[in-house]
Symmetry: C2
Subunit: 202 residues, 2 copies
DNA sequence: CCATTCTCTGAACGGTGTTCAGAGAAAACA
DNA sequence: TGTTTTCTCTGAACACCGTTCAGAGAATGG
């Protein structure tokens, strides 16, 4: 009786279809301009159907936020490896900034929007975020081990500093708080600021 | 004929009343949980009346964002003065972080929310933000002049770096991306990260 | 006292997220 | 096969939202 298996497969396919179309709409129209009805229209089902696969709008956004993290983690993986850890750390920061500027919609989902934060708070943990933070912490640890950073360095603090610096720069840009910088120059300016910071550290 | 003057005064009083009650509601219930109807109820007028004083919801939020900047600019003024510029810069960063943690609602308004950004983009300038950024830039310039920073330092780049670092730390906290840190310790942790950064620079 | 100007109301419009009784198809059982 | 059960899906309905606007009523000016 393969019925149950087929049902499960079809259920997953429907979830994937909803997520795919929702992501398409969100990225092209902006998160606040996409309603459940519009998603329903895009998948050619009635609005009620979506609620048979997701409990509410936030659950869709949380699922998309997980998908964004997969892509993000890959982009950040240039930081892993066995070269000089300081060089990898700097490379990771550059990759972080480029990813955010190239994928502002995904970045918002992961690090700015309120909606996923509600679920993070409710679950009281955030594996996806902490995985990426772990990658960063490991690299910072290696910088301590290799003597690049002083032995008494508190690794979580140093990693948070590094993350905060990158996040601050890109989130100011994404939320339009740098209107004095022409859009075409944003990436370069952020990278300069980042380089200023790492030059001071290095 | 003092009628016109009285009318103008009453008009201003009504605008202030709306802003005051709106701010109260926003800070206590959160921005997305306050509707125009709720504001109308708070001021004891019908919803339509608000639109005689503000063209739409975004205009209210933009006006509140200006009020937030007044308070913020004052808090940041510890950075001005005539002591050692580097010391003032560090003090300014500390004030920035403390202000944001103590007034997350105001901070969101100024640096995170989308709504004021629309108006900033429409007006294509942002005096209030640039005033505060100017305060920072001036202090960085004085660090260059006093020899604390190398003469070839690009001041806007260094200032942006400093801003980004502070903004990144607090906005991660405000948007709940640091669930691994207990709320009571957030401020201390952010300050440690900030100190790690300035120690590297100083 | 009348005409004008101004303020304010509240119903209405077209949207929103979400729920749920009931229709109809598919599967399981006899 | 026919019958019963299980499952999927619909779409109207609910309670909200931001915003508009004809018209009521008061204040002002002549």
């Amino acid at each position: 009786m393969g019925t149950t298996e087929r049902r499960e497969r079809e259920r997953k396919e429907m979830r994937d279809l909803i997520l795919e179309k929702a992501m398409e709409l969100f990225l092209s129209e902006g998160y606040e301009n996409v309603s459940m009805r519009k998603i329903a229209e895009a998948i050619e089902y009635s609005p009620g159907t979506i609620y048979l696969y997701f409990s509410d709008r936030d659950e869709i956004i949380f699922a998309l936020h997980l998908m964004a993290f997969q892509k993000f983690y890959k982009a950040l993986s240039v930081m892993a490896g066995d070269g000089d850890p300081w060089e990898r750390l700097v490379k990771g920061g550059g990759a972080y900034i480029r990813f955010a500027i190239a994928n502002p919609g995904l970045y918002e989902l992961m690090f700015i929007m309120n909606s996923p934060a509600k679920t993070i708070k409710a679950k009281d943990k955030w594996e996806e975020g902490l995985n990426s933070f772990g990658l960063l912490s490991d690299t910072v640890q290696e910088c301590v081990d290799s003597g690049k950073f002083p032995a008494e360095t508190d690794v979580p603090t140093a990693a948070l500093y590094f993350w905060g610096m990158c996040h601050g720069l890109v989130s100011l840009a994404i939320r339009n708080r740098l209107p004095m910088i022409p859009k075409s120059q944003i990436r370069g300016v952020l990278e300069s600021a980042f380089n200023f910071g790492v030059a001071k550290m290095g």
